[in-house]
Amino acid sequence: MMISGGGGKSSWSSSTSSWIPTTSVSASGKRIQREMVELNNDPPPDCSAGPKGDNLYHWIATIIGTPGTPYQGGIFFLDIKFPSDYPFKPPQVVFKTRIYHCNVDPDGLVSMGILKDDWSPALTITKVLREVRSIFTNPDHYNAVVPGIAHLYSGDRAKHDGIAAEWTVRFAK
């Protein structure tokens, strides 16, 4: 009896997540659609983004390296994945193009405050892209995810820039 009861309980909890359709799915879909329209109407500079295929929750974006930075001239591809309760949870932004940056981990995952604890439902993907673009110019080396790069950035800026430019030429062109 206890065993069957326990089994029932676990399947009950798993069934609630899979079975009951949450209203937020359609709400998040609507919001993502609106963002898409907004982004098409007024794209941020040097950025573009849109759904990868049929899936509205999986986008692909490009950012062109800002002139005046070691990333200049590179075209960086990013993957954006929206959670199902999207405006309330941050999207996941991953660099598909390799980049030498102290805020981008070796797997390409962008580590930024607004994509984690500082996320606010009032932020849009346009703002996120702007923010990602801004870390090209100003890496946040105090909250770095790759300490080595951050150390080099604060210690030997010229060397850091050299490596970053080299990576840009090698991977992003």
Partner: protein, 381 residues
Amino acid sequence: MENKRMAVNGEQKRSPRSQKIPLTDSNVQNMATLLSPRFKSAAAMAGWDEEALLLASLIVEDTPVRDSKHKKRSLLNSSSPSTNSSRIRRTWRTSRQPIPVILDLDAEETPKKESGRKKKEERAGVNNEGRKGGGGDGNESKEKNPGAPSSSSALPCIDKLRDELSCAICLEICFEPSTTPCGHSFCRKCLRSAADKCGKKCPKCRQLISNGRSCTVNTVLWNTIQLLFPQEIEAREAARSLNSRQQAQNLSPQTAFYANLRNTSIQASGGASSRNNSRKSVAVTSTTQEDEDAALARRLQREIVEQSPGTTRMRTRRGVPTSQDQDAALALRLQREEFIQTFRGSSQEQTIRLPSPSFARANLRAMASRAMNPRTRDRRR
């Protein structure tokens, strides 16, 4: 015109009830609604007599803006019988076009409309300059907007207004806007979800919201939005009702079931002991027929419904054994599988987790535990 008016006023003083009869011109409407019954009762509570009221109305009738000054003056007038000053002023005023102001406590919009129309041009200019999202002043200027739904497409700043009045969370026009202490407005539902899921901070400025749960609708803003964007609000209302209906019908049979059961559970929970008996007898016969299983599961689910916070009173009186929870959960799972079978048919086989032999076994197990359960409960009593 002037003479007629005087005559009318004289008559009014004699019998204020008959004021409608002699008036046939365009002033009929204004005069008819001049003193609403509510206003009269309010005035009676304030201790104004009929004459004072009429005097006040004479003054207010011709003045575009009503404020406390006029009330004070009329009070003074009522104390002194001479109303010459007001008469003189009135004759001076009626030479111009009289502006109809309805003295009605309900009609909040009318004076706003008057002043709003005058300010329209300036405001349009301000809006066209591109005021970008300055929370407080943005709201203020919108609240003064004349409530004219017909002019919604004609307003030059309608796009700006749309931007201003849209919720930053769902990016649509605010539906039942709720304003945070820091002055930012969102849909009530959006703000509530944000408070639930992202902590009690304002989504715009991250200021602390003291109580995100008790969001009150900003009435003025909501009325303004309804007046400015009637189509959008209508569409959204329709979508919402459709959505909820769909949800109740087919998308989530479980919640629909709960909704149905909530009604029946009230009657059913009355005879708890008889239910226990019937449950025992069913367990003894141990048939594996589908409909009986469903009935059992439903009965068990009823217990869950009773345990849900809305209807706890039935259960909290007697101690509920914890195994009952698990038992009920199992029954619920069984029921869910039944649902999947009936609703989706056997075409989608990946959704059915249990093949039939284990399904039957689970049924038996559930029944066995149910048979034990009343016993344990009886022991407890």
